[in-house]
């Protein structure tokens, strides 16, 4: 009981601290207008806050900026998952042209440096005569996750809603999960990560993993903090071609932001499959084969900057090798 109180107390203090930071950050920008008006409470109420001078001040909640990336739930709840959900993703390979908008959006949202991609787009060519295709890859949030099995400290865990998340305050950085993941999904903070000033003091939570911490592992988290607010992950929203369908297996519904379809019907009609099914990891990400493609594969290659072109040169220009 006492522990519970302590935790609540702790949570309250964190909350106050975060709100205070949010206030300071907003004040520093010299504007109090809210960028996300949708989240303003309908009826304004007074909220007590701790000012930077150490005084308690009352502020109309309408003037508070919503602080993004502030975890909405406690760390314990973040280990449980969102009740009743079973997140699933479907990636339509026929629509991908390596526009890379998903990667930019993901990195912007998670404050990842340019080279650290939680979401990557590979160019796969299954056999010599097979046609190459673009292959976006997030974390597969496997139902039999090899990474979770090997974690010695329960820093990475599987939730009831299907997500595999990481507690970067518990992770000891042994990298066993990285060695165990067959899909090279996980990335490591090899040096002190650059975190924007106003996010540095956020209370860490497995649902946000902001701020990133040196010497710990991180990866795509399917943005559960956004899911709690009814928002789609940035990669889904950013894709100009509607490649990613994100949704809930329990509701049997997935959406790419424009069209909302039945998950089972989509998998049935388009012969959905899971990557490397034979490994038995049971991924939560399904792929639709690149049949009747919307773009020729070259479209994703021609206009790339040279450093990115180099990644795919072996497949796109084999004669030059």
């Amino acid at each position: 009981m006492k522990e519970q109180e302590d935790m609540n107390d702790h949570g309250r203090r964190n909350f106050l601290r975060n709100v205070a930071i949010a206030t300071v950050a907003t004040a520093a920008c010299g504007s109090l207008n809210c960028s996300c008006s949708s989240k303003k409470p309908a009826v304004s109420e007074k909220i007590k806050l701790l000012s930077p001078d150490g005084e308690i001040v009352e502020i109309d909640s309408a003037y508070l900026n919503h602080q993004e990336h502030m975890a909405i739930v406690s760390k314990l709840e973040a280990r449980e998952g969102i009740a009743g959900k079973k997140f699933v993703m479907v990636v339509d390979l026929a629509r991908c042209k390596n526009a890379r908008k998903c990667i930019t959006a993901c990195q912007k949202w998670h404050y990842r440096p340019e080279e650290t991609e939680w979401l990557t787009v590979k160019l796969l060519k299954d056999s010599e005569k097979a046609a190459p295709y673009w292959f976006p890859k997030q974390c597969f949030h496997c139902d039999n996750p090899p990474c979770v099995k090997v974690c010695p400290v329960d820093a990475t865990f599987k939730r009831n809603d299907g997500l595999v998340l990481i507690d970067n305050e518990r992770c000891i950085g042994c990298k066993f999960c990285m060695a165990a993941c067959p899909y090279s999904t996980r990335v490591f903070n090899w040096s002190e990560p650059e975190v924007p000033f106003d996010l540095r003091n956020l209370a860490s939570n497995p649902e946000t993993n902001i701020p990133a911490r040196v010497g710990t592992v991180e990866k795509c988290d399917f943005c559960p903090d956004r899911a709690r607010e009814g928002l789609l992950p940035p990669c889904v929203e950013a894709c100009p071609n509607g490649v990613f369908y994100f949704g809930d297996e329990n509701e049997d519904t997935v959406t790419n932001g424009e069209e909302t379809v039945s998950f089972t019907q989509l998998i049935k009609d388009r012969a959905g499959y899971r990557f490397l099914e034979e490994l038995g990891t049971k991924p939560r990400v399904y792929y639709l084969p690149p049949k009747d493609r919307q773009f020729p594969v070259e479209r994703g290659y021609e206009n790339l900057p040279d450093n990115l072109k180099d990644r795919f040169k072996d497949i796109m220009e084999p004669e030059k090798k």
Binding site: K122, K137, A155, C174, K175, A180, S184, F188, N189, S191
Partner: protein, 452 residues
């Protein structure tokens, strides 16, 4: 403590080594300490700047450190098995080298785990291994295994030392007071009374019986850190036995080299004889054959089956542009060379066996590198990365410095321990010329082994 004339002679002969700390000892001690200090600086860099100072990256997440971990821990397990077998089977010629084997066990189980800690990104969170342990993880198994093994091996060495410590205590050695006190303290009042003898031999026998299976278990658990993942070149049922044999084999080689070094430095030719080298040489040859067989099975099944992911690793190992030459070295020098040197009577000499053992130990280190790195360089999905350091592992100077610091620590411990205890045990030592009659154990042992 009563010693027979042969034992007294052995003690008097080795006495100066534990009384004096010669110039050469100082030179080596300072030399090793310098390396360790350099390693300390590299470690400081790694902690201050993050693991980015190493060659490890997102694909090759483990590098030299884990290779060294497997290498040193392997020596440790080998030492325990060799010492345990020599003790239990009462091998008559084994007495003079048991201590070296036990020293190797304890020293490498101290040095080895340091290297796995170097792989860990957050030193400040190591206690999480104990406060949030997760029993499913092979890493947790390994933590338990190494801690258990450490306790066992220290005890195993200590029990074997007690009689000797009593001899040193009673010998009126010309040594500083603290050392005299330490001998007295560690000898825990052993006087050679019948009941003391009995208790000691029972505990030693029991511990030897425990240490042999324990070594096999912990070596297998070490292999399962790799074997339990789904990666080609690792995910193989042979991995447990493969690591046990590899550990035993390389440990045998290091023991031969250690025997040679001490025999030469401390002029122990009368005690560590050609017989020891030849006999351990035979053991080494048999282990080489076994290791070769396992290696062949592993590569041959992988190559013949030629599953896509598996053959990618095999191709890397055998193509001259990648690891081909290293594979050739690891197998030629690590398997064929010791077999040939020991099998041919003309080359079955102390010096050649030692050289073969030394080269084999190097080759086995390379072999561990070949087990770890090429697999990590072969993810299921193509890397398609333009950052070369992410695609191909190459160890950086902090990693090499720390590696040599580890070797220096290993050697430093050997140097210092040889100044504290005699390399050849005094008590229980028997005159090899009297060994034709089979009474090579005191009566007390028979009393113990008979059912009460």
């Amino acid at each position: 403590m009563e010693l027979n004339s042969y034992q007294q002679q052995a003690f008097d002969y080795q006495r100066p080594e534990i009384e004096k700390f010669g110039k050469l000892n100082w030179f080596f001690t300072i030399f090793f300490l310098c390396w360790i200090a350099a390693g300390g600086y590299a470690l400081y860099l790694q902690i201050a700047k993050g693991h980015g100072v190493t060659g490890m990256r997102d694909n090759v997440v483990w590098g030299l450190f884990i290779v060294n971990f497997i290498f040193f821990i392997g020596l440790s397990y080998a030492g325990a098995i060799i010492a345990g077998v020599l003790h239990l089977l009462k091998v008559p010629w084994g007495k003079p080298i048991v201590r070296l084997a036990q020293m190797m066990t304890v020293i490498s189980v101290v040095v080895g785990p340091v290297f796995i800690l170097l792989c860990v990104g957050r030193f400040d969170r190591l206690h999480h291994l104990f406060i949030y342990p997760r029993i499913q993880s092979p890493m947790t198994w390994d933590v338990m295994a190494v801690v258990t093994f450490f306790a066992g091996s220290v005890l195993f060495l200590y029990l074997a030392l007690i009689k000797d410590l009593a001899v040193y205590r009673d010998a009126k050695l010309n040594i500083p007071k603290w050392k005299q006190w330490l001998y007295k303290f560690l000898a825990i009042g052993y006087r050679g009374a019948a009941s003391q003898k009995r208790h000691l031999i029972i505990s030693q026998n029991l511990l030897a019986i425990i240490m042999i299976p324990l070594s096999i278990i912990v070596a297998s658990i070490l292999s399962w850190i790799f074997g339990m993942t789904l990666r080609p070149g690792w995910h193989s049922t042979i991995f447990g036995p493969y690591f046990v044999l590899g550990a035993l084999y390389s440990g045998c080689g290091v023991l031969i080299v250690a025997m040679w070094v001490y025999r030469r430095m401390y002029k122990l030719d009368n005690y560590i004889t050609k017989k020891h080298f030849v006999n351990l040489g035979y053991v080494m040859m048999m282990l080489a054959a076994g290791y070769g067989y396992f290696t062949f099975s592993e590569y041959f099944t992988g190559w013949f089956g030629s599953a896509k992911w598996e053959s990618e690793v095999i191709n890397k190992l055998f193509s001259p542009g990648e690891y081909g030459w290293w594979t050739l070295f690891a197998n030629a020098a690590g398997i064929l060379l010791p077999i040939l040197i020991v099998a041919i009577p003309a080359t079955r000499k102390v010096s050649l066996i030692t050289i073969a053992a030394f080269i084999m130990v190097m080759a086995l280190w390379v072999k561990r590198y070949l087990i770890i790195i090429p697999t990590l360089e072969s993810p299921a999905l193509p890397m398609q990365d333009t950052r070369m350091e992410y695609v191909k592992y190459s160890a950086t100077w902090p990693e090499w410095t720390l590696t040599f610091a580890g070797v220096a620590t290993f050697l430093l411990f050997f140097t210092l321990m040889a100044k504290f205890v005699t390399i050849v045990p005094i008590t229980g030592l028997e005159d090899p010329h009297l060994q034709h009659n089979n009474h090579h154990e005191p009566v007390a042992v028979n009393e113990v082994t008979q059912p009460a």
